[in-house]
Amino acid sequence: MSEIIRLHNVSKNYESFQVLQGINLSVQQGEKIVICGPSGSGKSTLIRCINRLNPHDSGSITVEGQDVSSKAGSDHVRREVGMVFQNFNLFPHLTVLENCTLAPMKVRGLSRQAAEELALRYLNRVHIGAQAYKKPGQLSGGQQQRVAIARALCMNPKVMLFDEPTSALDPEMVGEVLEVMAELAQDGMTMLCVTHEMGFARKVADRVVFMDAGQIVETASPAEFFDNPQHPRTRAFLSQIRH
């Protein structure tokens, strides 16, 4: 296995508030990492720093050896790393198909026909090919999130970042999105998921990273993490989410 993402001593502040403090993390190719922790702990900021949606203040983040704080590095990471958002962020004025073909055509320079073939392949893969000609507003939340996953996959990313992909969904739609994500994991995609779906973490993750107050408190395999958490803050968090 080779390293694909490396965070070294990464810190970030909002005004005087330190959201990330000295984060170190190395992600191997094909690895599935679940990041969890209480709200405000910096999980989302962390993954948004990786693809440069939030610039970090100090330390270094490299993706395939390229520093994301350089122009070339941030262009590279955005082309090669896909992202799925909590609120889907589909383009409401475009059809499902156009949502998926936009970046392949404009960034990768694919022809419309090639981009549409690619898009339909991924839309079918997330079981939503039949909705290709609808606008996002006509779909349910679960369907929209699956479109968002397909849209990211159309760029043939080497890594997928998920920022609480099921948090904005009605409970009955969470399952269909997690299922697609699990299939993606099975196909060997490198994944970083911020999620509170502990069942998913246990089933899919190679490692669980627990964050609190801008720091990584504990990193462990799912079995270790859930059955034998080391840090008191991890234990407190787990007891809270288990009700």
Binding site: M83, F91, H93, L102
Partner: protein, 244 residues
């Protein structure tokens, strides 16, 4: 009360009135086009933390927005030639002067419309565009602009209708637009109602057509599954005319 239908009809179909209406429409179209063209970069440039360049731009725009349109027309027509010899030449006609003055005035208003429209696009749309590897320009062109345009269209169309009516002010710098033609005809014939009715018919016809075009444009750009409750053309036009 006497209303001479023959006089009304003759004027309505006469060349001077038709030409006056064409000048009105052309002036409004040209001034608004320049307004839109200048206002998009201006709206983008104003978005960000305060700095001397932005403060200057804001100051200039607030002058164009604050000064009465009539004053601006008179200034451009009478005062500009005093400052710049180039404006003393043959090409500087009342039409050009009105075009310049109304364009600047319109830019100032349109900037605010565009800024509001750009602000109302969800920040997540930028994030999604950038996360897909699109450049800043591509995000703006393919993601933000179409959404902002839809929001800006009703107010922009309103603005255009207001502008169409404001062009009548250009009669003071001797531009032969619809209102100038009407006033001159009336002052020699004293048949007020007939000629005012002609002007009204022309203005209404222009506003009606624009409202109709706007409706079509809104429908084309809309992406909601459920369309907004339809408002009839007559209702919308009447609502507009009340603001003259």
């Amino acid at each position: 009360m006497n209303f001479d239908v023959a006089v009304f009809w003759d004027a309505l179909t006469s060349y001077p009135f038709f030409k006056g209406a064409c000048i009105t429409l052309l002036l409004a179209l040209l001034a608004h086009s320049v307004g839109i063209l200048l206002s998009i970069p201006a709206a983008l440039a104003l978005d960000g933390p305060n700095n001397p360049a932005r403060a200057t731009l804001r100051g200039v725009l607030s002058v164009f927005r604050g000064a009465p349109t009539l004053l601006q027309l008179l200034f451009v027509w009478n005062a500009l030639p005093q400052f710049f010899p180039i404006f003393r030449e043959e090409w500087f006609t009342p039409f050009f002067a009105a075009w310049i003055a109304l364009s600047l005035n319109e830019t100032a208003y349109q900037v605010e419309i565009n800024r509001a429209a750009l602000k109302s696009v969800d920040r997540g749309q930028y994030a999604a565009g950038h996360a897909l590897g699109l450049s800043r320009l591509q995000v703006f062109r393919y993601v933000i602009m179409p959404q902002a345009a839809r929001i800006a269209i009703p107010t922009t169309a309103n603005e255009f209708i207001t502008l169409l009516k404001i062009t009548s002010l250009a009669s003071v710098i001797s531009l032969q637009e619809l209102m100038a033609v009407t006033s001159q005809t009336v002052s020699s014939t004293f048949q007020f109602s007939e000629y005012y009715a002609v002007a009204l018919v022309y203005y209404l016809a222009m506003v009606y057509s624009l409202t109709w075009l706007q409706g079509g444009l809104e429908r084309r750009l809309s992406w909601d599954a459920v369309a907004a409750a339809p408002v009839s053309l007559v209702q919308r036009t009447l609502a507009r005319m009340r603001r003259i």
